[in-house]
């Protein structure tokens, strides 16, 4: 029997079969690779936390080193108060601050902020997650504060889809290191740190941006300032 390929019925049948076949292949692939992807994301998060502390780790030893350095973790509210008795998905490590940042139903004042306490070379450090917007999508990272609650000792930034070679450079150590030594407070009040274009980044409270990545650099500036302000509320109450 010769099939009329121009008939509507054939076109519909072909499209339906194609969509079902493709749908089954892609969804089983996605489910099958799900656990691997999830594990990759978790290890990456641990590596980022460690990287803010200045600890080098690989995908292999990331989990192990995380357990070694991070001593305690807890969650504070937007107004800077310690939150207790939170459900499992809102505990410090499992709390998805990026999802919370995107979720328009969560008011800014209802956002939760995790704190990771770490001990490195006998010193106590605080690792604080930050989330913000870059040029193409979300950017996020971790900022490590020293025991004086105001000096930044390390940062690690990451992004979803900033332009490779331009905005994406925020995740490179040369940019992350520019934040080291900056202070988020002086004399007990919060002070913002600006990302500048004119090369005056060596002055205090200033960090050089990235050539060709201006909007991403400004995104980092906003992200760090907005989040550090919240954390400083907590620290100034609990020094």
């Amino acid at each position: 029997m010769k099939v009329n390929k121009d008939a509507n019925g054939y076109t519909f049948a072909f499209s339906i079969i194609l969509v079902i076949v493709v749908g089954v292949i892609l969804s089983s692939l996605s489910i099958g690779l799900g656990p691997l992807k999830k594990a990759n994301v978790e290890v990456k998060k641990k590596m980022n936390i460690l990287s803010a502390l200045g600890v080098e780790s690989t995908r292999k030893d990331g989990s192990e080193k995380y357990d070694k350095y991070i001593t305690e973790s807890y969650v504070i509210s937007h107004s800077g108060n310690l939150q207790e008795n939170l459900p499992a998905e809102k505990q410090a490590f499992s709390l998805d601050v990026q999802k919370q940042f995107r979720d328009k139903t969560v008011k800014v004042t209802d956002r939760l902020y995790p704190i990771f306490e770490a001990e490195k070379d006998g010193e106590k450090l605080f690792v604080l997650p930050v989330v913000g917007k870059g040029l193409w999508g979300p950017i996020w990272g971790f900022v490590a504060l020293a025991d004086d609650y105001e000096t930044i000792v390390g940062t690690s930034f990451d992004h979803k889809g900033e332009t490779p070679g331009l905005g994406a450079e925020i995740s490179q150590s040369f940019f992350e290191n520019r934040y080291n030594g900056e202070k988020i407070a002086s004399n007990g009040t919060f002070t913002p740190i600006s990302v500048v274009q004119n090369g005056s980044g060596s002055e205090s409270q200033k960090v050089d941006g990235i050539t060709g990545g201006t909007i991403t650099s400004k995104g980092v500036e906003r992200m760090v300032n907005e989040t550090m302000e919240v954390y400083y509320k907590y620290f100034s109450k609990n020094k």
């Binding site: 390929k5 690779l33 995908r59 999508g137 900033e162 060709g212």
Partner: protein, 229 residues
Amino acid sequence: MSNTEEKVKAPSEPLFSKKNKRLITDPLSDNNPITIQVLGICSALAITVQVEQAFWMSISVIFVMVFGNLIVSLLRNLIPSRVRIIVQLVIVASLVIIVNESLQAFVPDVSEKLSVFVGLIITNCIIMGRFEAFAMANKAWPSILDAVGNAIGYAWILLLVALVREVLGSGKIWGASIFGNNLPGEESGLYALGYVNNNMMILPPMALIVVGIIIWVQRSMNKELVEEN
């Protein structure tokens, strides 16, 4: 089907006959998808800041092209002509998702480096162009060869542009510094002598200028390619 008739017409064509070889070699130079057909320019512009990304992009495109051309060629007699572009789009999109998922699961570091550009393979006009112009009208084996040829033709231009831009723009090859250290205050190598990286090279327009220079060189070497006007 009339198998016997076909055999009489083409008595078992060798796998790498002259005609088949041309399918691979033509797109490398005289019919290069980027420099002659001027397709796929968007990714040539976006992904060529660093050689490593260009490399992984090329690998991904080769995969999508070869399997896409193969699938379209196998289905060519079944695809209803009125929805053929949509069908081709579904095939290329599915392959790209497969590439993206696999990268995320098995080589997460590469996936992070390529970020959004894997998704943009879907919009690479070379791929849709080959589906429509070649795979829809040819058998599986020539289609694979055509895909390999075009994908490699795309890849080598991409890598060349990336090499030029990374060397001149960042002073690196594959992320490794070649001119010495250029951190302020601790310059070494060429930087100590006053050399500075050309920051303009990492901006997108320079990719087009580099492609333009390649086109110029190619056409002055082969006058047949020059349009008479």
